[in-house]
């Protein structure tokens, strides 16, 4: 087991734990954090996979992840979140 692959597994575990937390909420703002998570952790996993699997073209996918984090984040914040979801009580 190479170090890069072990770290990729560790980061995936991190991502999943964080995603479960983000999906719980409680406010819509907490859910939007998923965009940030994938931008950083997702592209880090892809970078490590590119090294571990010897596939440099995965770097392009990581680039798209980082770019999309910005686009979905802006779409989230500017377009979708006009009011509180009915079942979301702000703390």
């Amino acid at each position: 087991m190479t170090l890069t692959f072990a770290l990729a597994i560790f980061l995936l575990l991190n991502l999943i734990v964080a995603l479960v937390r983000v999906a719980r909420g409680p406010t819509p703002a907490d859910r939007l954090l998923a965009a940030l998570l994938f931008g950083t952790t997702g592209s880090a996993i892809l970078l490590l996979l590119a090294e571990a699997m010897g596939q440099p073209s995965l770097l392009d996918t990581a680039l798209v992840f980082a770019l999309l984090a910005a686009i979905t984040g802006v779409a989230f914040a500017r377009r979708a979140w006009r009011e509180e979801a009915p079942d979301d009580e702000p703390r």
Binding site: I9, L15, I16, L19, A34, F38, D60, T72, W81, D87
Partner: protein
């Protein structure tokens, strides 16, 4: 258990979890967020399967573009509902 198998199993669990949640959740906004999460995890799965080009397309179209459009649609639906509510 080999390292690759561990990674793939984790990914599968996360994929099934996000897909099931996206389908069963009542609130539209949460559903769309979970769909985007599913799309990005799917891109990771394509990367693991050795198909970086499909991973690219999945992340850009499946998660990014579709997600942004659906989020916009949710926003419009809410804006429409607001005056009547």
């Amino acid at each position: 258990m080999s390292a690759t198998l561990a990674f793939d199993l984790l990914l599968i669990v996360a994929l099934v979890w996000s897909a099931a949640r996206a389908l069963t959740v009542a609130d539209l906004f949460r559903g769309v967020v979970l769909l985007i999460v599913f799309g990005l995890l799917m891109a990771l799965a394509w990367a693991r399967l050795g198909a970086p080009d499909i991973a690219l397309a999945e992340a850009a179209i499946g998660a990014g573009l579709t997600g942004a459009l659906l989020l916009d649609a949710v926003g419009h639906l809410r804006a429409k509902r607001e005056p009547g509510a």
